[in-house]
Amino acid sequence: MKNSSRLAAISTFIALTALVSVIAFSWNWAGPTLQPVIAQGLAYLIATIALYLFVGNSGIFSFGHIAFMSIGAYVAAILMISEANKKLNQPDLAHFLATTQMNPLLATLIGGLIAAFIALIVSLPLIKLSGLTASLTSLAVLEIVHVVAANWINLTNGALGLTGIPLLNNVTELWLVAILAIAASLGFQQSRWGRRLRASREDEVAAHSLGMTVNKDRRIAFVISAFFMGIAGALYIQLLGALVPETLYISATTMILIMLIVGGMTSLSGAVVGSIAISTISEILVKIQDGVQVGGIDIKGPIGIQPVGLALVMLLTLIIFPKGITRSREITFRIRMR
């Protein structure tokens, strides 16, 4: 029994990795207009997987996860922007920060670690809350991070934001991190902690009666999830080159929530498929908004059609497939053992 579930997990890993790899490699053949779309799509993919790791396993909806993406992004940006640029934008930065300029890869990793560390601190009080109260409080966390980012002028340059962030010129890192996130997520799902957490998601009272205390498991999921969120944020801003407090706030939150919901909240395949589907739909809508020619016919939608389209997709999905387009199943295939 245990063996077969492990095999199923391995097959899911292979299927999802293949899917992500196809998308990552298509970057090489894509034109200059499509390349950033693919790269940003991959960054969102990582963030959605990270969100799934917590929400999908614990069943607690978090509206605040983008806060950790923002933290990762700010930490990485401050560490990797060149000294000259910092003098220009942040004259009051503490000396040791102003003079360091790290390798982007290292800065990204530190961004993830600090996001995870802050998640650990935040989790101390938040873990005591249950269900809906926790969901609403996570919004308060997002708000706190946003207020700090907008007002700690010395560190973040406030609403003017940071510029001169070194750009990524390929998707290798995004691809590797996406695969790592898939592996971590599946590994967690298979682990003792993940299974306990899923049990508590289905029926918290029953899980308690079997002697499971899930607070620790929740915390583990929360911290791992925040780590990948931070990394996703750090990579994401290396695609944009600039960072303001609004970059990672309500609209980004909406985006990853739509991705997870449309895909299917309680399966990893849902997170992956959902984020790919939504990135595609969103890009098509943006194209229509800008005006495209299909078969000689001009199609031009009104401005603002993209969010309306996404909202409709999300609402219809919830009504027609309440468990998402993957029905919250994992993509598996049978591996023959001789």
Partner: protein, 274 residues
């Protein structure tokens, strides 16, 4: 605002994200008809959110009513996003200035204190609504049905409470409360913009959460506590930290929740027994 969230939550265990956007819709209603006589504008602001609340309930929430708490939460989130994007699509993102009820802006004088009529109107309408709602819930048939449904929805249905009608009524009332919120907010700030709902909603959510989800008096108490904390922090925080007021407010809120995870006034049905 907090009141209407508490009401819908109590009955459906639904935290309605779209509530904030109903305020926004109502506010736009006032903006589009701001040149009409004030009674007409007031009626528009009150009626439009009620209509929207009923439409939303019928189209979006009825199909998913039996689903889990978080599905409902997410559905309301989707509705909220849809409303906001529709306003972006048909109107625009730029804030519009509205001068609603200029008469309310004038202060009047009590023993040397200048008090704007608007503040009186705000406090007065909150009191009227609270009393009216308590009367409605305890004295009228629909109100009693509503409380029964909040207590135990399945049993209430078995006893002959019409589920659709009660929930629709709850949504209509929440629409009315939202309309009042919209009118007062626009009169106070003189501006409407698509994201205004979200900002208000956050405050209302936090207020209802500290007050205790699903408890009406808790919602009012939560609102006042939140206001008090904000003013207190603003007064005692050193000037260079003033811009962080909101962050500190939410921090304190989190600590309150740490000691009272269920909120200050808890409704009984809300506790999970383990």
């Amino acid at each position: 605002m907090g009141l209407s969230i508490a009401l819908v939550f109590g009955i459906m265990r639904l935290v309605n994200f779209a509530q904030g956007d109903l305020v926004m819709v109502g506010a736009y209603g006032s903006a589009l008809f701001s040149h009409a006589p004030w009674v007409f504008t007031l009626i528009i602001v009150l009626v439009v959110p009620i209509l929207f609340a009923l439409i939303i309930e019928r189209i979006a929430f009825r199909p998913v009513r039996m689903a889990s708490d978080s599905t409902l939460l997410v559905t309301s989130f989707a509705v909220s996003y849809l409303l906001e994007s529709l306003v972006l699509l048909f109107l625009s993102a730029t804030p519009r200035g509205v001068n609603l009820a200029p008469a309310l802006g004038h202060p009047f004088n009590i023993a040397g204190l200048l008090i704007p009529w608007l503040d009186v109107a705000t406090v007065g309408s909150t009191a009227v609504l609270l009393v009216g709602l308590s009367w409605f819930l305890s004295k009228t048939r629909t109100g009693v049905y509503m409380r029964a449904a909040a207590e135990d929805f399945t049993t209430a249905r078995l006893m002959g409470v019409r589920a659709n009608r009660v929930i629709a009524a709850a949504f209509a009332i929440s629409g009315l409360l939202t309309g009042v919120t919209a009118y007062l907010t626009v009169a106070q700030t003189g501006q409407v913009y698509p994201a205004m709902g979200v900002n208000l909603l956050l405050v209302a959510f936090v207020a209802t959460t500290i007050g205790g989800l699903g408890s009406l008096s808790g919602a009012v108490l939560g609102g006042y506590i939140l206001g008090a904390i904000t003013i207190f922090i603003r007064a005692y925080l050193p000037a260079q930290l003033a811009s962080f007021t909101q962050a500190f407010t939410y921090l304190i809120v989190i600590f309150i929740l740490l000691y009272r995870p269920q909120g200050l006034l808890t409704s009984k049905l809300n506790r999970t027994r383990v």
